[in-house]
């Protein structure tokens, strides 16, 4: 009788506890709605949903974009790297960093040579404030492609955030060496140059960007030096340095803040499917 009572209590506990235990389990994902190109070949459906996801992403309809990319992964091919890349991009934009990390991680598991996936995952780590993880990802991207300008840009930013100004400057100088943009500058500064003439070669804004970042990082370096000086001198500090430090501090609190993600560059990937 006693044994039956114990069994009954255990059974009662199981019944009462079941809903609470179920809540601890991972929520069941909501299946995507994938009504287009039903019955067509997988490659056609994949292409369609890559396009649709991209279109919704560009339109700012992030939930629908996630649905489109999920259609590929849920219904067609759960190892389709561009779909993980696309969905991670949307999730990052939406601020859903944990899920974005999962998708980028899946992408690099499936394609360990995917420079863009490492780079973009590094951005997500940076947005989460995990700078060591971020730098590790940029290192891996640059390990796969040492001339990867976007990676050099991003690693320089992360190094500067962590106070490694020399390392940051080294990355940016490497980026400038990669592109030989100095030759364009020399040409533009040539006093004999016809002002109406086009530059000696076409160049992108990304090629000019290291100069901007060098300026920012030298300023950050200057601020760090000023702060060391002010720490040592206290009340006896030269007022001109106090003023200069205050001005720079203000700039780095607002428009030149390196940690807000705006200085990081997202890497390209082929979305066409």
């Amino acid at each position: 009788m006693k044994r039956w009572m114990i069994f009954g209590l255990v059974a009662l506990f199981m019944v009462l506890a079941a809903p609470a235990m179920a809540q601890d389990a991972a929520p069941t994902p909501i299946p995507p709605i994938c009504t287009q190109f039903v019955g067509e070949a997988d490659d056609l459906r994949t292409s369609y949903y890559m396009g649709e996801g991209l279109g919704f992403y560009e339109s700012g309809q992030f939930s629908r974009a996630v649905n489109s990319f999920t259609c590929i992964l849920f219904e067609i091919d759960n190892s389709h790297v561009p779909a993980y890349m696309g969905r991670a991009l949307v999730l990052t934009e939406r601020g859903d960093y944990d899920r974005a990390l999962e998708d980028y991680t899946r992408a690099v598991e499936l394609d360990p040579n995917n420079v863009s996936a490492f780079n973009n995952r590094g951005i997500v780590h940076s947005l989460l404030g995990d700078y060591e993880e971020a730098q590790s990802d940029f290192d891996r991207a640059l390990g796969l492609d040492e001339g990867f300008l976007i990676g050099l840009n991003n690693r320089a930013v992360i190094r500067a955030i962590q106070g490694d100004y020399e390392g940051a400057i080294g990355d940016l100088e490497e980026a400038l060496n990669q592109t030989d943009i100095q030759a364009v500058i020399d040409d533009l500064r040539d006093p004999e140059r016809d002002p109406e003439a086009p530059p000696i070669r076409d160049y992108t804004l990304n090629e000019a960007r290291p100069y901007a970042l060098l300026g920012v990082i030298y300023s950050a370096f200057a601020l760090s030096s000023y702060q060391d000086y002010l720490l040592l001198t206290g009340q006896n500090a030269d007022f001109r340095i106090q003023s200069a430090a205050g001005a720079l501090e203000s700039r780095f609190t607002f428009d030149l803040r390196l940690s807000d993600g705006t200085w990081l560059l997202v890497a390209d990937f082929a979305p066409e499917g």
């Binding site: 396009g51 807000d260 705006t262 560059l265």
Partner: protein
């Protein structure tokens, strides 16, 4: 933080796609079709070349562009939709819905000849689809071709008896022609199918407004200016009705047209 990050995505993979195809967020809110048939004459038609499509997405297949176009279309970025559907057509996507949707995008931009050509092509490819008839009926309505419009809306509801928008649109044409009883009959059909759709209610209120105006005019014709209206002086009541006078005008009927699927 994410908002700031957004600015950096201008360097992302999709720049070329956006530059070449997308009309962008600013283009998302297109104006409704102009009410006058003459408006179409001044339209600059959106175009794109096959080379531009290839530059936008070098390895893209037609379904990719259809997906992209459908997203733009749902976002009411009709410029982007026209370009992306055109890229899909360059990729030999002879699908009626591609032509129907591109035609509708042209229609919104009042590129009437291009819209008509696309609607006709969609119908040629698959005459059993109701949507191209509804869209073409909308074009004919805007152009003032009520007879052709009624014909197309009737085909649309015959092909798809649950096409509430086509019933609504046929009601609009009936009302614009002064056939209010027929209009109300079609509105009831639309409401039976889609009781939560606001469009038929808007159309019905317009029809009742027009009917009220007609009754007021009839009353005044029979009773004279001195007659008293219940609830106020004749001048007050007529003035109130006249605030709705646009209900009886051609332009307002056009705003009641609805696309549907």
């Amino acid at each position: 933080m994410a908002k700031h990050w957004t600015t950096s995505r201008t360097v992302s993979a999709f720049v070329m796609l956006i530059v070449i195809l997308g009309g962008g967020a600013a283009a998302a809110q297109e104006a409704p079709p102009e009410a006058t048939p003459e408006a179409a004459a001044t339209v600059e038609v959106v175009t794109i070349t096959q080379e531009e499509c290839a530059a936008a997405a070098p390895n893209a297949s037609a379904p990719f562009f259809i997906g992209l176009a459908n997203a733009y279309f749902e976002d009411e970025d009709y410029t982007g939709a026209i370009r992306a559907y055109s890229c899909a057509i360059f990729g030999a996507a002879e699908l009626p819905i591609v032509y129907a949707n591109r035609g509708y995008a042209y229609f919104v931009q009042r590129a009437d000849p291009e819209a008509l050509a696309d609607f006709n092509r969609a119908i040629e490819l698959d005459g059993s689809l109701a949507a191209p008839y509804n869209y073409r009926g909308m074009l004919y309505t805007v152009q003032g071709n009520f007879g052709l419009a009624l014909g197309d809306f009737t085909v649309a509801v015959t092909l798809d008896p649950n096409y509430a928008e086509a019933y609504n649109n046929r009601a609009v044409v009936h009302a614009a022609e002064g056939n209010f009883d027929l209009a109300l009959f079609d509105i009831e059909s639309a409401l039976l199918i889609a009781p939560d759709d606001p469009a038929p209610y808007a159309t019905r209120s317009a029809v009742y407004g027009a009917l009220a105006l007609r009754e007021a005019a009839e009353y005044r014709a029979r009773a004279g200016e001195a007659a008293l209206f219940p609830g106020g002086s004749p001048a007050e009541v007529v003035a109130a009705l006249r605030t709705d006078a646009e209900f009886g005008s051609f332009g307002t009927w056009l705003t009641l047209l609805v696309r549907g699927g």
